[in-house]
């Protein structure tokens, strides 16, 4: 789960990690007032749940109140990578002499939390990682010990020469780690961490993302979620036990299992089609799930044909078939549906849908090819039956 910069910095503050003085604003008038409160100069920053706002013009320095108000006018309402800017953060301008990068994430290889630090702060860290990976130092943190003072100090010495800064950083890094653990974060970044002209370290920008699997025990964090329309749909689907991600193709997929669902999408692409979504109905055998899934697929008007690919394991093909028959009777379906059932109780399942108008095929390759061919001439023809197998 992603949160905004201003939310990340509110969490930083709770852990007494120093951040800039700043005020969240929703209108140009609020920005004007915030600027008066904070004093000039200020930085007006778009708050959107995507990266690259700087390049998109979503961050502006204002040296006068008029500049700030104007910046607010420009930024509020802006579209950044499909995200509409609804709020801006007005932050006090800070004079600084150096920018650093520090961040915590989870490293799959060492199976540990890893602390990343770089003297190349203030730029896109992904770029640094790609072009000069050696400029990012990585320190795996022992899960049993946590962020010990010596480890925090060692990292601090890697960034700073001045011992006063080392001491500041040591404390700051320990707080950052505690915050990471206590909030079940999957990423916590300060970029840049600046050295102000007063000689203090300060988080100028912050970013946090969280482990979705842990949100059940992070109610406060979970409450910060601001799903987009698409994400709202994903969340509703999740509540019904379905994992759904909208894509921009025309072939709606319904699959059991995430890996098979991805492979199904890939296969559609392989044969020249384009998947309209990722949809994993999971491992349970509840026919209602199939009805919900079908409803979900049909709610996307781009979907011109539906491809159902089930390999029964825990999922029983007869349950899926029963759900399909119910869906057909309950919903008004006017696009073709291609069905492939294999594995547990596939015979029984195929028997159940024999009398329906569904297009039944034997393999997932066939299913993909058939779906594509039906999609090409997806006139208002009714779904029809072809061959039965497995």
């Amino acid at each position: 789960m992603k949160i905004h910069e201003f939310q990340a910095k509110e969490i930083f503050s709770r852990y007494t990690i120093p951040v800039t003085r700043e005020i969240l604003c929703f209108t140009p008038a609020e920005v004007t007032s915030a600027t008066e409160t904070l004093g000039l100069p200020v930085v007006v920053k778009a708050q959107v749940l995507t990266g690259g706002r700087g390049k998109a013009g979503g961050v502006k320095l204002a040296r006068t109140i008029d500049d700030a108000t104007q910046a607010a006018h420009q930024i509020l309402g802006m579209d950044i990578k499909g995200y509409m800017v609804e709020k801006v953060l007005v932050a006090q301008g800070v004079k600084f002499s150096a920018e650093f990068y520090v961040g915590l994430t989870i490293d799959r290889k060492t199976k540990s939390v890893i602390f990343m630090a770089s003297k190349e702060g203030g730029v896109e860290i992904e770029e640094v990682a790609k072009n000069t990976p050696e400029a990012i130092l990585k320190f795996p943190i022992d899960a049993d010990l946590g962020m010990t003072p010596f480890m925090a100090r060692k990292i601090a010495f890697a960034l700073f020469n001045d011992f006063n800064l080392v001491k500041q950083a040591t404390t700051l890094f320990q707080k950052l780690y505690t915050m990471f653990l206590e909030t079940d974060a999957s990423l916590a970044e300060i970029n840049p961490l600046v050295l102000t002209d007063e000689g203090n370290l300060l988080a100028l920008d912050g970013k946090m993302t969280f482990d979705d699997n842990a949100l059940f025990r992070q109610k406060e964090i979970a409450a910060l979620n601001e799903p987009t329309e698409d994400e709202q749909k994903e969340i509703s689907a999740k509540e019904k036990g379905l994992t759904y991600i909208r894509l921009d193709g025309s072939i709606g997929c319904m699959v059991n299992g995430a890996g098979l669902a991805m492979a199904t999408m890939d296969l559609i692409k392989y044969y020249g089609g384009s998947p309209a979504n990722f949809l994993d109905i999971g491992g349970s055998s509840n026919p209602q799930k199939v009805i919900d899934a079908m409803n979900l697929l049909l709610s996307d008007k781009h979907v011109k044909v539906v491809m159902i690919n089930i390999f029964g394991g825990i999922t029983r093909c007869d349950d899926v078939a029963r759900g399909l028959i119910s869906a057909l009777s309950q919903l008004k379906i006017d696009i073709p549906i291609v069905v492939r059932l294999a594995g547990t109780n596939s015979k029984e399942g195929l028997e159940i849908i024999k009398q329906s108008n569904l297009t039944v095929v034997e393999t997932m390759s066939e299913a993909a090819q058939k779906a594509i061919s039906l999609c090409k001439d997806c006139a208002k023809q009714a779904p029809y039956l072809s061959s039965i197998s497995i």
């Binding site: 482990d211 842990a214 990722f278 390999f311 029964g312 999922t315």
Partner: protein
């Protein structure tokens, strides 16, 4: 032979009185797995499908000689169940539970290492050595005893692959679903080594997907240590960046962890990568006749 589980495997089911636990305990037993006991705190003394239930893993292990456990408890309790099994001396722990917080896994990993406990999962379908032992939720009937070792980050995609292999007469020594989470137990490298050392495994199928760089590391490991033929498949070529594709670990972050990178990594070390699931048996046969 086979790896990790075989005829001598004695399984304890943690969470046996739950809906999934009881269902799959019966399924495993029906397959022929020695399901020797179950654990459900407060329900010690009961039986489930004839399987004795204990209050603690320690009791279960002591009474039954169980050496492997499979966990069906809710995700929030899963790592405690893993630790309980490890502390009780269980050698192999298989976690089916989905949705385990990543930091919980980070926290238990050093303990398992210290105790020498092998972990499969979480968020995995388990594993099977056909005709010997099924420890998981995989549909036993699609497997065929043989000599292909298979490991996969996915469940149903594994079934699809196995189905193709079995149809082509390519039986399996052991098939393992390693799970779809970012932090999991035994992974490609450990399993590649086990298959390499297993005299009954002739060739290996590796099914990866987007997210992380485990496939890239596996490719390097194959280059250095594996002499048996390996064929790979990578799911998620059409997955968009920044979205978790069902599995917690299946996400392209900051442009890395893509299928293309993984495919390139395998091909650069001579491991053919099937573009469609149906190509796997053919590629495997070609590799074996090289």
């Amino acid at each position: 032979m086979s790896i990790l589980v075989n005829k001598n495997t004695k399984v304890i089911v943690q969470g046996i009185t739950g809906r999934d636990g009881s269902f799959h305990a019966a399924k495993m037993k029906a397959y022929g797995t020695h399901v020797v006991g179950g654990v459900s705190p407060g329900k010690g003394g009961q039986t489930v499908d004839g399987i004795p239930v204990f209050n603690t893993v320690e009791d279960a292990a002591k009474e039954t000689g169980g050496n492997t456990s499979i966990i069906f408890v809710p995700a929030s309790l899963a790592t405690d169940a893993v630790l309980e099994a490890s502390e009780a001396g269980i050698e192999l722990v298989v976690v089916i539970s989905e949705g385990v917080p990543t930091l919980d896994m980070v926290k238990v990993t050093p303990y398992l290492k210290k105790k020498g406990t092998k972990l499969i999962g979480p968020n995995c379908p388990g594993l099977i050595s056909p005709d010997e032992s099924l420890v998981g939720i995989l549909p036993g009937n699609i497997f065929l005893k043989g000599h292909v070792g298979l490991m996969s980050r996915s469940g149903t995609l594994t079934y699809e692959m196995v189905y193709q292999l079995t149809n082509q007469g390519l039986g399996q020594s052991t098939c393992i679903g390693i799970g779809g989470d970012p932090i999991a137990g035994l992974y490609f490298q450990e399993l590649l080594q086990l298959f390499q050392d297993d005299p009954d495994t002739d060739s290996i199928v590796l099914i990866g997907e987007i997210g992380g760089d485990a496939e890239e590391r596996a490719a390097q490991f194959i280059k250095e240590y594996i002499t048996k033929p390996v064929v790979a498949f990578i799911a998620g070529q059409t997955a968009p960046a920044g979205k978790r594709m069902g599995h917690a670990g299946a996400i392209i972050s900051s442009g890395s962890g893509t299928a293309d990178e993984k495919i390139a990594a395998f091909e650069s070390v001579g491991v053919p990568v099937a573009r469609r699931p149906i190509e796997v048996p053919q590629l495997l046969k070609e590799m074996m006749h090289k």
